[in-house]
Amino acid sequence: MPSLRYAVIALKQKEVEQVITKIEGLKAALPADQGTKALQLGDLVKWFKENGDAFYGKTNEEWKPFNGQTIDELINETAGYSRQTNLIEKFNLVEENYEVVDPIRVYFIDVFALFLDKYNKLADKMDYHLAKDNQCCLIIPYKWPDTIQDTVLGTYAKTMKMVYCAYLEGKLHRIAMRVEDLKNFRNYVVNTLGGVDGPSASAERQIKEKLPETSTTLPGRENE
């Protein structure tokens, strides 16, 4: 059975400070009548300052969302998944070289990363691609205060509109609040898609372009 290729979009430890600055900037820019929102952002900054460092490492994959364990440790306990986060590094926001990230089927996303321009733009650019061809799992631990959950959910819905809509329509995108949710998603995806040894999403698109469903002739045999 071929492995499901996954990538992790998460902050690195050195980016934590940038996120704090970013959220503080957002808070400062709020009009005076949005006091509740300002309070929420204030809580977020406070919580992030206190806990941020514990969750992140030098690389994106060293993000430890639950129990001090990385995504790799949490999901790759048995065969079935292979890491491909390195492909994200090769994705160019200007060139939009989707073929590079095409092999990735599953994305694990840290909602805090969406506050940073670098990842926000990446998520924005890949939104359609992710909603249509991939599975996303956003991680928002239930232990976070309610106000923080509301804020980050709002950021997710705003940045990844297509994924959010696809999720509401029943596509296989999830929000994991506990380890069990993550494992459920992991097993569900591997059971549903893991056995599919078909062409990649872009190859499938190309086949569809060449062979529309109405066509009954093979290319090159039109005159036969």
Partner: protein
């Protein structure tokens, strides 16, 4: 520094000196003019140099690397000469040619010179022994077995082949190249297990680091397999860069990511570098 395998060489090297016990050879140091001392010393050193070279050649076959080879050979040769000198001295005492007077050795210059010269002279016989019997891989007591030495030679050859392979220099998309490298690695593991199964001093085999080398090679095979089995071309290159590539020429943005990734499995990377930097000689 001396190495457990060298004791056998010292034993066989000093053995011809025992002829002095039988009184076969006798050396008498006469009076000679000072200008001739240099020539006498040079000629006297010739058997010493030949013995050193023969010991070096033998020890080179017994160890994987050439680390400390010259020093180890020099120590062994010195010990052989010292033992031969001591044997000649003891023989002289037994045969009542010399009288043992430990605190006054400085007064026994002539006796010491005779014993030393005998030791050097016995090296001529030792060299012949080393050049014939010992270099033909005979299974003699105190020396590594011929099967073991043969396995070590094959292991060294395979290690040299791995060190000179493409994987340290450039990326090859062709899976056949990776498969060939894995075959070499598998052969190496087999040879290591064969060497370990050979009779001989357990301590000597342990100190040679055969077991750690086996686990290092297993890590090497795993790294190569991980690249070979990777289906995504970009990730294949990425894995090769993380495990084997020289990153010093990469731009800083790529360098940081790859270095961090490399540091995630620092032990594995260090093992690969250890294999690469083994001083195996030509």
């Amino acid at each position: 520094m001396l190495g457990l395998r060298s004791w056998g060489l010292i034993l066989y090297g000093a053995l011809p000196a025992c002829l002095s016990l039988l009184g076969f050879i006798e050396i008498k140091v006469g009076e000679f003019e000072t200008p001739h001392t240099l020539w006498i010393l040079l000629i006297g050193c010739l058997p010493l140099v030949v013995t050193f070279l023969l010991v070096r050649a033998r020890e080179r076959e017994w160890y994987f690397t050439e680390d400390y080879l010259n020093l180890r050979s020099a120590v062994t040769t010195t010990l052989i000469v010292s033992c031969a000198t001591a044997i000649a001295g003891i023989a002289g005492i037994i045969r009542q040619k010399y009288v043992f007077s430990f605190p006054h050795l400085q007064d026994r210059g002539q006796a010491l010179a005779e014993c030393f010269l005998f030791g050097i002279a016995s090296l001529v016989l030792s060299s012949t022994l080393f050049a014939t019997v010992l270099t033909n891989g005979a299974d003699l007591p105190g020396l590594p077995s011929s099967g073991f030495v043969g396995a070590i030679a094959r292991i060294r050859q395979l290690l040299i082949a791995i060190q000179q392979s493409f994987i340290w220099k450039n990326y090859e998309a062709n899976n056949k190249e990776f498969e060939d490298l894995n075959t070499e690695g598998a052969k190496l593991v087999t040879e290591l297990r064969f060497a370990l199964s050979q009779p001989g001093n357990r301590l000597a085999k342990k100190n040679l680091g055969l077991k750690p080398l086996e686990s290092d090679i297993v890590i090497f095979i795993k790294s190569v397999t991980s690249i070979k089995d990777e289906e995504v071309a970009n990730t294949k290159v990425f894995k090769w860069q993380v495990y084997f590539a020289d990153l010093s020429h990469l731009p800083s943005d790529q360098l940081e990511y790859l270095t961090n990734e490399r540091n995630r499995d620092k032990i594995g990377y260090e093992v690969l570098q250890r294999i690469r930097s083994l001083n195996l000689g030509g």
